[in-house]
């Protein structure tokens, strides 16, 4: 008798992810047809943050670890890339892996300390580490300090300036996003992912079953940091500028909101949440320069009156179709 599939929560839904991928693939075409030329760079930037939000969802949604310092990885990835480009070493095949490696190291070292704590202490210590990166970036006198660093150009690919083309860069970003999304989904459904999720819900039980929860979380934290570092690489290239603000705690807060907006733990929801958040920001800031005065209460209402974000609504909608519910 073949056992039925596990709880839907363990199976991040692939349908919405595929749907989003298709829609995003068509954006440049739509932009050309409608003449809205700003759609492509806008969506590129949103996808970059969606990638970062996805990385956060791995540790926050699946792992249950509220990291208030994920913007640090974006900053590290961006600055590694920026510095390399500025110094004339701006080749993607070199910059990209190096950015991710530096992030992995940072995640490993800070994770060793942070993951020994829990609850609010964990939140604060991740915040502290990201503040260290923020201030470290500010102290980089040679690379602009607080004003940031304008990059002479984007990274080359095999010596060619492929990334300079808006459309090429868009599809590269989309590719990175989809690859990471499906990779993370696979990881979540793997044995490793199951232990990570189990530890979120009942840590002592997982330890009693023989799993080294600390090591598992550390690994997840490093993977997450690397993906966020990738988004940093992309961001540096996209804006052709790096600044300490990339690692600010407000950015970390934004990322948390994107994850919650889409539905904690749903993975594709982090992407959707990033789109909802940044599009809303785009629309509101077009209306008034004081858009935060509207945005702030919106966040508050959202927290007070919804439970589980977009993903939960979609999951509930699917419940009738027998796909189970998280």
């Amino acid at each position: 008798m073949m056992p039925a599939a596990g709880a839907a929560q363990a199976h991040p839904m692939q349908g919405p992810a595929i749907f989003m991928g298709c829609v995003l693939a068509l954006v440049p075409l739509a932009s050309m047809l409608t003449g809205q030329s700003h759609w492509v760079p806008l969506c590129t930037q949103i996808m970059i943050f969606a990638l970062a939000a996805l990385s956060l969802d791995l540790v926050l949604g699946i792992g249950g670890l509220v990291s208030f310092g994920h913007a640090a990885f974006i900053g590290i990835g961006a600055y590694t890339t920026g510095i390399l480009i500025k110094e004339g070493w701006g080749e993607t095949l070199f910059c990209l892996p190096l950015s991710m490696l530096v992030c992995a190291c940072f995640a490993y070292v800070t994770g060793l300390v942070a993951l020994k704590t829990r609850g609010v202490t964990f939140i604060m210590i991740t915040l502290a580490f990201s503040q260290m990166i923020y201030f470290a970036a500010q102290s980089l006198y040679r690379y602009g300090g607080d004003d940031g660093l304008t990059l002479p150009k984007r990274a080359t690919v095999l010596g060619q300036a492929f990334l300079g083309n808006k459309i090429t860069f868009y599809y590269l970003t989309l590719l990175c996003l989809l690859l990471c999304l499906f990779t993370v989904m696979r990881i979540v459904r793997s044995r490793f992912g199951r232990v990570l999720m189990g530890a979120r819900d009942n840590e002592i039980r997982m330890t009693a079953l023989g799993f080294d929860v600390f090591r598992v979380r550390l690994k997840a934290y490093v993977i997450s940091g690397m993906i966020a570092g990738l988004s940093g690489f992309l961001l540096a290239n996209q804006t052709e500028f790096v600044s300490p603000a990339f690692a600010s705690w407000q950015r970390s807060g934004d990322l948390i909101f994107m994850v919650i907006l889409g539905g904690v733990g749903s993975l594709w929801g982090a992407v959707a949440g990033a789109f909802a958040f940044l599009l809303m920001e785009e629309v509101l800031s077009g209306l008034t320069e004081n858009w935060k005065v509207i945005f702030g209460p919106m966040i508050i209402f959202f927290v007070l009156f919804t439970q589980g974000g977009l993903a939960r609504w979609i999951a509930l909608f699917h419940k009738g179709r027998g796909q189970g519910h998280g």
């Binding site: 039925a4 490793f192 232990v195 009693a208 799993f211």
Partner: protein, 250 residues
């Protein structure tokens, strides 16, 4: 002369001035059912915590299966076959019954932390898990989310998870607590089945269960081991009667 599977020597634990484990020593022989009884607050659960690695003792030693495990972390002990169930049932509520047991099977499998293959559709893990679920009578409920089980069923699930870890020594912290009559009987017969194969250290208040099952009984009062003998002898021990059995039922 067979070596004990677990040897607790001179274990001590204090919280400030209060001594909760006062130079406790005990042995569990392989395949034996060894019960630990005592009034509330005697320190029975604390003892279990120290044996499993949840708490670090302040002194004394623990030798399991020939190895000194006194400072070994909990997860290492579990994978060596030193497995416990909890006084307050502890399962992963958001996963299905089957997945809970599959997790245990996964833990002692070849590649427990594989990053790629779908764990939920792993036939090897699932088939093995079903075997254990069958033993505790939960195979009908395998696709249910574990949080929806009744109290007794959750206990049975915990036992299935413990069995899936192929234990040499099972530490059971009040397994009968809150169980209905039928469920208790089923659990008792299950334990009888394993007698001789799996050693069990059983903390219990249910005296019927204790005196039916146990090969030996240790009595813990105020952190101190005051007796350790067969059930019949313990029942008659005047110190034990005074401290524990005397006021209650036997």
């Amino acid at each position: 002369m067979v070596d004990p599977i677990l040897s607790v020597r001179d274990l001590q634990k204090h919280y400030g001035a209060i001594c909760v484990t006062n130079h406790v020593s005990l042995d569990v022989m392989p395949g034996e059912i060894h019960a630990v009884i005592g009034p509330n607050g005697a320190g029975k659960t604390t003892l279990i915590h120290q044996i499993t690695g949840h708490l670090a003792p302040d002194g004394g030693s623990l030798v399991y299966d020939g190895q000194n495990i006194t400072h070994l972390p909990m997860q290492r002990r579990a994978r060596m076959g030193l497995v416990r169930t909890f006084q307050i049932t502890s399962i992963v509520g958001s996963l299905t019954v089957l997945d809970n047991v599959a997790l245990a099977v996964q833990s002692i499998s070849q590649d427990p932390l594989n990053l790629w293959a779908n764990a939920y559709q792993d036939k090897a893990l699932n088939d093995q898990a079903l075997v254990y679920l069958d033993q505790v009578g939960l195979s009908e409920r395998h696709s249910l989310e574990a949080r929806h089980l009744s109290h007794g069923e959750k206990r049975a699930l915990e036992i299935a998870m413990a069995l899936a870890l192929k234990p040499k020594l099972l530490l059971l912290d009040e397994p009968m607590a809150g169980m209905g009559h039928d469920e208790s009987l089923r659990l008792l017969s299950l334990f009888q089945q394993f007698k001789g194969q799996i050693a069990m250290l059983l903390v219990e208040h249910d005296m019927d269960a204790v005196f039916t099952l146990a090969d030996r009984v240790s009595v813990l009062v105020d952190g101190e081991m005051i007796a350790c003998a067969t059930p019949a002898l313990v029942r008659q021990d005047p110190r034990v009667r005074a401290a524990y059995l005397g006021d209650g039922d036997v």
